[in-house]
Amino acid sequence: MPNVDLQVELAGITLKNPVMTASGTYGFGEEYAPFYDPALLGAITVKGITPLPRLGNPVPRLAETPAGILNSVGLENPGLEVFLQEYLPRLKNLDTAVIVNISGFSLEDYMMMASAFQKGCGIAALEVNISCPNIKHGGMAFGTDPRSAEEVIAAVRKNTGLPLIAKLSPNVTSIADMAKAVESGGADAVSLINTLLGMSIDIHAQKPLLANKVGGLSGPAVRPVAVRMVYQVFEAVKIPIIGMGGIMTWQDAVEFMLAGASAVSIGTANFTDPLAPLDVIKGLEEYAESRKCASIREIIGAAH
């Protein structure tokens, strides 16, 4: 029996281990349950929820790229009400920390989402996806301007008592500035990275392959960018980091933790190997043991 303490603290919540699943890649916690008990995970993050139900984008929504995928799901989700009534009760039965990812297209959207989730409602934290376009600001994403980002996080902060995680977009000149902005807006932690904006063109049809033209790039292809951003953000802010972006193996997870992540999220890897999160947990444990660490926390930021 390994003697490594895998517990990590994050935004005031204690996770049994640092391995979570990334929003949009793990459905609502039920899809992968036939393969293993979600209770083995440190936390799960559910698909992004918006105030109203959304059909999302037309198909094709997926394009495979070298060592990556582009997706343009377009935030398809059942909407806040159905989520609270149908999905949340089932999520509460999972013996793991549940993080709800929320999205909106205006400050008001975010505030109303935030106020629907309070302490005791059965979830561990809110993750605020600020990569969405702000419709009132000409569609410029909240997450690409430090002021908007700080504003939206502050607004959410005022409306909920739950721990708050800001999910950052990598499509910015300075990720450190974005992290500082959400830190001063009141975020308890940051998640990074969301997907890189990309495009694939169908050379037969001579038009973009995705119906939505652009999509978000994820998977191992983006890992070097994600690791760099985690490393930079670790030096810029005091709040903990949830690292993600192309983690396929425990070695990748170790890279993110050494760069400064207190926990890691597995996204695209679930599609290739549904058991990837469990292999990562096991590998982290063995790595820590082989380095004679009593706690996995000792490796956080050790590459600085």
Partner: protein, 275 residues
């Protein structure tokens, strides 16, 4: 539904090499759980290129020998890599996935296949009790070379009632399989006023063809099941990448091809959804 390594029993080019068609036989537990119309999601290599699994329909299953038979056409990188896997090697599959066809236990069943879309229909031919159900296959394809490569011989041997349509008329009717379908539905025994209640249809093929098939079947009042294809990542309903659009009680909804399908009620599907 399981994540399992299965042993490759056979992985062999079939028919004319130009057609790029392969038969893959896998041995393992998945065969015990499989139903006609389901598919498996195959990891074709061990590196990150390609990164995703590849969905392939189950064309036949043999429970005693614990074997699944799949047919695939080499299309791009993933299927090309799949051809390199040799007998006795193990491949990781996720499956059987999806809902599968609902098979009648009596009456008549009309199958309409387009191109390699016929492969999932093979699983019906195998599974349905042909003593009790009167099955007929209408199959359209490019030309005789394709039809022969893709399994025409087997069809002949099986004693199934079938009709062919090819674009160039090199075998069967010259034209579209939907023409065959129209003719078939107008045959005396299939007229609306005849015992049409006993007639069911199932189809798989290119989107355009299935849309036309759905229109014809609706017109004729024949219940239709369609097996759809869409680009997939997870295969289990977690990523929302593979949706189709359906109209339920008048309201547009998304369904996941991988989990809610790949087989849908032909009446329900909104073809060429614009949003």
């Amino acid at each position: 539904m399981m994540l399992i390594k299965e042993k490759v029993i056979e992985n062999k080019q079939i028919g004319n090499p130009e057609q790029g068609l392969f038969r893959l036989v896998l041995q393992g537990e998945a065969a015990l759980a499989a139903r006609p119309g389901q598919f498996v999601h195959i990891r074709v290599g061990e590196t990150y290129d390609p990164l995703l699994r590849r969905p392939v329909s189950i064309a036949a299953m043999n429970r005693e020998r614990r074997e699944l038979t799949l047919y695939y056409r080499v299309k791009g990188k993933g299927t090309a890599l799949l051809t390199q896997i040799r007998p006795d090697e193990m491949v990781s599959i996720l499956g059987p996935l999806g809902n599968g066809f609902q098979l009648p236990s009596s009456g008549r069943l009309l199958l309409i296949g387009g191109g390699i879309g016929v492969f999932p229909l093979f699983s019906i031919l195998e599974a349905v009790d042909r003593k009790k159900v009167d099955v007929k296959l209408l199959w359209g394809g490019e030309n005789q070379c394709f039809m022969e490569s893709a399994g025409l011989d087997g069809l002949k041997k099986s004693g199934i009632d079938y009709e062919l349509a090819t674009m160039d008329g090199s075998t069967g009717y010259k034209g579209l399989v939907t023409d065959l379908l129209r003719t078939e539905l107008e045959s005396p025994q299939n007229k609306r006023d005849s015992p049409a209640k006993t007639l069911l249809a199932a189809s798989c093929g290119p989107g355009g063809m299935m849309k036309a098939v759905a229109a014809i079947c609706r017109e004729a009042g024949v219940p239709l099941q369609v097996s759809l294809e869409e680009r997939m990542a997870c295969g289990v309903g977690a990523c929302l990448g593979c949706v189709c659009t359906v109209r339920e009680a008048g309201v547009l909804q998304r369904k996941k091809v991988c989990k809610d399908g790949p087989v849908f009620d032909g009446e329900e599907v909104v073809w060429d959804a614009e949003c």
